[in-house]
């Protein structure tokens, strides 16, 4: 079983059923598959080597999904790019993944123009609405993506054979040690996780999910795959700028499910008219991505009476999901991440690799068919987390005597802001690049809406001057918007341990 088989099976059974609804667009399973086949035929003609990396830079749902399945059908590996990007981030990901193909929406024209000449591995580019190659594309193979996706005449042809153990996706995730690293997921990893999630959410053809999370993230990717595999529909609005619009769409499309991160729910509860809405068709909501406070869970139960709340836990390295709390347990233990999902085994181990006694804290180590193949071209980082015991998650937890898990803390200093995972190192490196800056440390500060906001603690060179505004402008140019700190604190010196390591915990408490 390969990922495209989910789409092929559903399109054969229900070609006229809507898979995507957004704005005024209605896309059926049949049309999505035809568009994917058209792109795959073009890629097949180009003769890219099996397993080529196809990067996607679009937030248009039909373009994203058709290209996603088209690349897989043509034997490629999908690399979904964050659409909140900068030239530097985009070039880094294209170079690191050694992408042979880039599929992009025209709105990223300016980035493309500046980045394409330096992305040496690229062989082909497809951009929407543009008959002429975009400037910077040089001698690359070029195609108008709009034309390709509208062409439903591509015959069903024999495409390159792929095995379930071949790579399907590389999802980039923030690292604490520097630049984002690519998580390699095989078809079998994603298929197993998709089936497991469908089982515990009891998803079926009549489910329609409100998809607010970007598809290029692991959680959004899993919402997309599970609903297509189940034959359901995706109602897409990924901006989350106007929560009232999302609530109206939930009512209008009679959605049965909603998947969010804690900040999605915090925004809905604090900056929308949610109490004036009723959702008679809503069956379940899911939450993952960070710990949600029991107070927030309690509020959700009030605004969504009778709706199942699934608290879930996982990481990109596990294709998305590792555990969930049965909705029937939410009242009793709202702070728990539940138990392992079907097919996955979770253990709490000490540093010596031995299980810790019940009630004591250990690191969550996972085994299952959903665990990644490793980090793309990073054998050392791979062997640090994929060890003989399984996937060492870096998350510390305890287990009660009924077997429920509770997160205690994270070993890493990744900042979780909204739906983003942000490694502080890249921001620190950027700020340190400003000529007035002597030293910098970046930490996450608790925030009611975002979960965490980014604080930069900066020490300037002796005699140098630099305003907060100037530093933020520097960050704006170098970093994607979501990595720009929300606050800058200027200090005389950074607190350090005896060995010279910055004490980040102390920086979380300094007053601004």
């Amino acid at each position: 079983m390969l990922i495209p088989d989910f789409l092929i099976g559903r399109a054969a059974r229900n070609p006229d059923r809507n898979v995507l609804l957004y704005g005024k667009n209605r896309i059926t399973y049949g049309r999505l598959l035809a568009a994917a086949r058209s792109l795959a035929a073009w890629l097949d003609d180009l003769g890219l080597e099996p397993g080529f990396r196809g990067a996607l830079l679009t937030d248009e749902p039909f373009e994203y999904l058709a290209s996603y399945f088209g690349i897989l059908l043509a034997g490629g590996t999908v690399v979904g790019l964050n659409t909140q990007t900068s030239d530097r981030s985009l070039l880094y990901t294209l170079q690191d993944s050694e992408a042979g193909l880039l599929v992009a929406n025209r709105k990223f024209f300016r980035h493309l123009q500046r980045v394409l000449p330096f992305a040496g591995s690229l062989a082909a580019v497809a951009v929407t609405g543009s008959r002429e190659p975009v400037p910077g594309a040089g001698n690359l193979e070029y195609e108008n993506l709009t034309r390709l996706l509208e062409d439903d005449t591509a015959p069903d042809r024999i495409l390159p054979y792929r095995s379930p153990c071949d790579l399907a996706q590389i999802i980039y995730t923030s690292g604490t040690t520097g630049r984002p690293k690519g998580v390699m997921l095989r078809h079998v990893n994603l298929v197993a996780n998709t089936r497991s999630i469908i089982e515990y959410l009891r998803l079926g053809e009549n489910d329609r999910v409100m998809a607010v999370l970007p598809f290029f993230y692991s959680y959004g990717n899993s919402v997309m795959l599970t609903h297509i595999a189940a034959g359901g529909s995706l109602v897409v609005n990924q901006s989350f700028m106007y929560p009232n619009v999302i609530l109206q769409q939930m009512v209008e499309h009679r959605v049965t499910g909603f998947s969010g991160v804690p900040s999605s729910y915090a925004i809905l509860l604090s900056r929308s008219a949610i109490e004036t809405f009723t959702f008679p068709d809503l069956r379940y909501i899911t939450q993952a991505g960070a710990a949600m406070s029991p107070a927030l869970v309690h509020k959700l139960k009030k605004v969504f009476p009778g709706v199942d709340i699934f608290i879930m836990y996982g990481q990109t390295e596990a294709s998305a999901r590792l555990s969930y709390l049965d909705p029937g347990e939410v009242d009793k233990r709202p702070d728990s991440i539940g138990k392992a999902i079907p097919g996955v085994e979770l253990q709490l181990l000490g540093r010596d690799g031995r299980p810790v006694p019940v009630g004591e804290t250990g690191e969550i180590v996972a085994r299952g068919p959903n665990v990644m193949a490793g980090y793309w071209q990073r054998p050392e980082e791979t062997s640090a987390v994929l060890r003989k015991e399984g996937l060492w998650t870096g998350d510390l937890a305890r287990q009660d005597d009924e077997g429920f898990f509770y997160i205690v803390s994270r070993k890493s200093d990744i900042i979780k802001s909204g739906s983003h995972r942000i490694g502080p190192k890249e921001i620190e490196d950027t700020i340190a690049g400003h000529p007035a800056v002597h030293e910098v440390a970046v930490v996450g500060i608790p925030d009611d809406i975002l979960d965490e906001r980014i604080r930069a603690c900066v020490v300037l060179h002796h005699g140098a001057s630099c305003s907060e505004k100037e530093l933020l402008k520097h960050c704006r140019i170098e970093l994607p918007a979501y990595k720009v700190p929300q606050e800058v604190v200027f200090l005389e010196q950074l607190p350090k341990t005896a060995t010279g390591k910055v004490k980040k915990s102390a920086l979380k408490g300094v007053s601004t």
């Binding site: 700028m241 106007y242 929308s272 008219a273 809406i449 505004k469 704006r476």
Partner: protein
């Protein structure tokens, strides 16, 4: 009205556009479609509107018709302060 438009433009450039030139933002350009403001940016924008123009933005009013361009914002502020 034009003073309000200028005040709003200044805020958008100072907080979201930084290195952009004046011509990069038309007064009818959608913040959403142009990717200028995200969901947390809207919250900053609302906080700023409330402080700067001494108005209270109701949850029901958080819709694109009121907030999604410089001109829409200016018209919304004019209605609220009338």
């Amino acid at each position: 009205m034009s003073e309000t438009v200028n005040t709003i433009r200044r805020f958008i450039f100072d907080n979201f556009l930084f290195d952009a030139g004046e011509d990069d933002l038309g007064n009818d350009d959608s913040f959403l479609e142009q990717g200028i403001i995200d969901s947390t940016g809207v919250l900053e924008l609302v906080e700023w509107l409330e402080e700067t123009f001494s108005i209270s933005v109701d949850d029901e009013e958080l819709i694109p018709e009121n907030l999604d361009s410089v001109n829409r914002l200016a018209a919304y502020v004019a209605r609220k302060t009338a």
